[in-house]
């Protein structure tokens, strides 16, 4: 037991700590890992971006092609009611008696459903069935006008023709009103959708893609959609014909 020199004293510490090991008590690796994570994260959206671009071009092309096919049919349907005049139809009256009653019911069913989109737009939670509803609208509305006119004639087979025509015309008018309201609803839905998206503003690539997609694809389930609520755009849904991906209800 003698006084110790500074040199020896220092050496004592040096030796003790030379190969000292103390095991961390907490699992620090996971927090270190999450801290160095962001570096890698940047690469992922880049891949998504190029994938999204390819998808976008492909699907826009497909949709334009599809729309060109659909449009002529629509025009034909819209023109029909004007061409068909009640007076001429008298010959077909007997044949169509049976079939007429069914569409009349369909009409009543169809009318409320055409109004649905308007409500749904208001709520901004639109359901998937809109796609099918729109199809009904396009095809059935003009057809039902025809059928309604036929009903008019069937109901009063041998009465005054004038009354018959008047009756038929008035019903046609009603029908056209209904038809036009349905189209109004349709446009409302579309513009409403656009405004809703635009009002959010464009903050990232996801928004840009969403905006373009909204302009091109008016369905509820867009062929591609990004979730942009958090400032990190990530793919939330894809809808290309039979292949669908994603977006559970929020």
């Amino acid at each position: 037991m003698q006084p110790i020199q500074d040199k020896d004293f220092d050496q004592l510490f040096k030796n003790a700590f030379e190969d000292a090991e103390i095991t961390p008590s907490r699992d620090l690796w996971s927090s270190i890992e999450s801290e160095i994570e962001p570096k890698k994260k940047r690469i992922i959206p880049f891949y998504w971006l190029s994938a999204a671009a390819v998808l976008l071009i492909a699907t826009v092309g497909y949709l334009i092609y599809q729309q060109q096919e659909v449009k002529p049919k629509q025009f034909a349907n819209h023109v029909e009611p004007k061409v068909v005049k009640p007076v001429i139809e008298t010959q077909t009256v007997q044949d169509s008696v049976e079939t007429v009653t069914v569409p009349a019911e369909k009409l009543k069913q169809a009318l409320p459903t055409t109004l649905k989109p308007a409500e749904e737009v208001a709520k901004t939670t639109v359901k998937e069935n809109i796609k099918t509803v729109e199809k009904q609208k396009i095809v059935t509305a003009p057809e039902m006008q025809k059928q309604e006119m036929v009903i008019a004639q069937v109901a009063q087979p041998k009465e005054d023709i004038k009354a018959k025509i008047e009756d038929a015309v008035s019903k046609v008018n009603q029908e056209t009103v209904l038809a036009s309201t349905s189209t109004v609803v349709k446009t409302d839905e579309v513009t409403g959708d656009d405004n809703q998206e635009e009002s959010k503003g464009i903050r990232n690539v996801g928004d840009v893609v969403n905006l373009i997609v909204n302009k091109v694809d008016k369905r509820k389930d867009k062929f591609i959609q990004f979730r942009t609520d958090d400032d990190d755009s990530s793919l939330s849904s894809i809808n290309i014909g039979p292949f669908k991906f994603g977006k559970k209800k929020k």
Binding site: M1, D6, F13, E21, P24, S25, W29, I32, E33
Partner: protein, 177 residues
């Protein structure tokens, strides 16, 4: 190591697992307690993985990581510096009259007494005695004069000796009692 440079997560984890306990021992010397040491360790490793591309291969890789840890610890001390002028006291100190038995002093004991030191003393003692910095370097790094570094080292030694004697006396008492 090449894997770490390329940012390979698995390699990084391996490197961490291999070196963490050694580096924690380094951080502990500079910290007041385990909590503080593990915080420094975490920040240190994040720096290691961010700066790994700067490592040119001169000196051992472990030595490089150790330097990053020490620098992180010093940085953390400077950030938390509450009062700079704690230690401009007299250079003279009483040399403890009794010596002590080297054999009974373990690393854990020495760690305890180092952690008890005032922050400034602990910095200077660690940097000079264990890491081998010169007083000039210490003065520049901590923003004090060379003389202040010397005097703080002397104070630190004196306090450590006293503490160790206390501890030994306590140990002796428990052995005999």
């Amino acid at each position: 190591m090449e894997g770490c440079k390329a940012g390979d997560r698995k390699m990084q984890e391996m490197l961490y697992k291999q070196t963490a306990s050694k580096m924690l021992a380094v951080c502990m010397r500079y910290a007041k307690d385990r909590m503080e040491a593990e915080d420094v360790l975490q920040v240190g490793y994040i720096k290691v993985f961010q700066k790994i591309k700067e490592y040119r291969g001169d000196g051992s890789f472990e030595g490089w990581i150790r330097r990053v840890m020490v620098n992180t610890a010093i940085e953390s001390y400077r950030k938390n510096l509450r009062s700079l002028n704690v230690v401009e006291i007299d250079e003279a100190y009483e040399q403890p009259s009794t010596g002590f038995d080297f054999g009974t002093l373990g690393m854990q004991d020495l760690m305890k007494v180092i952690q008890k030191l005032a922050d400034g003393y602990r910095m200077v003692f660690n940097m000079y005695v264990i890491e081998g910095y010169s007083h000039k370097e210490i003065g520049e790094t901590l923003g004090i004069s060379e003389g202040a570094s010397k005097s703080q080292l002397s104070r630190a030694r004196a306090i450590l000796k006293e503490e160790i004697i206390k501890m030994e006396g306590f140990g002796y008492a428990t052995y005999t009692g």
